[in-house]
Amino acid sequence: MEYWIAFLVGGFVCGIAQLMIDRTNFSQIHVIAGLVSAGAILGALGWYDRLVDIAGAGALLPMSGFGFLLVKGIWSYGAEHGWMGIGTGIFQFVGLELSFAIVLSFFTALICKPRG
């Protein structure tokens, strides 16, 4: 059952993103930036948290999950540290993925050439 919900939620986000790219003048970069912003807003409203509880990876893997994790970091860190939580906590959850992606990208670029 969890797999089905992950499939439906993740697929739904991708399907909507595809429609946005095809039907409007937005490029995929616009759409991804929009997804991240939407995830952050829904996270701030407390709705995305519930979606992650139900859909798991289906809500975390789309880029809206990235926006949610940014907000989640501010919220959880800010509860203890007040206003300092905004700047410090923002990377609390995504820092791991972000730094890993940067380092691995760097070393991959060391080894691999683009193939065209």
Binding site: G10, G15, S37, L61, A101
Partner: protein, 144 residues
């Protein structure tokens, strides 16, 4: 109506329309399947390694990022994206692909001015908008 009198509008009948339904379905199924893979990985990390839910989620995301970077490195991710569309790009794997593809493309300009400078050429938009929006929301939350 003659084409040349009202070119910008009249030309639309000659331009191929993207197959909206098929494209969206492809994105839906590919994106959904990737999320199922993520969910399965998460379950496996929890049950097989006995880690907590939160740690398993992080491991799962790191695995997906590694997979995307590996596939980009061997030149297969762009082929997958041509099929899956947003099903490949709107996910965290697409973000990882945007970083590594830009880094690889600009390695010919050197390690600092090429790879480092250009890595966030595409993926930067997601980070900038994510941080700006989250920061503003954080300020609003703090004030309230």
């Amino acid at each position: 109506m003659r084409l040349r009198d009202n070119y910008q509008k009249a030309v639309k009948q000659f331009q191929p329309k993207p197959p909206y339904v098929v494209n969206s379905l492809k994105a839906f199924v590919s994106g959904g399947l990737l999320c199922v893979l993520g969910e399965a990985l998460k379950k496996w990390y929890i049950n097989g390694f006995g880690v907590s839910q939160e740690v398993a989620e992080h491991w799962m995301m790191l695995t997906v990022i590694s997979l995307a970077i590996l596939l980009t490195g061997i030149g297969m991710y762009d082929t997958f994206s041509q099929f899956a569309g947003a099903g490949a790009t709107a996910l965290l794997s697409g973000f990882a692909n945007s970083l590594v593809s830009a880094a690889m493309e600009h390695r010919s300009e050197g390690w600092v001015s090429g790879v480092a400078n250009h890595m966030f050429k595409i993926g930067g938009a997601a980070i900038v908008y994510g941080i700006v929006v989250a920061y503003v929301l954080g300020v609003v939350y703090y004030i309230m």
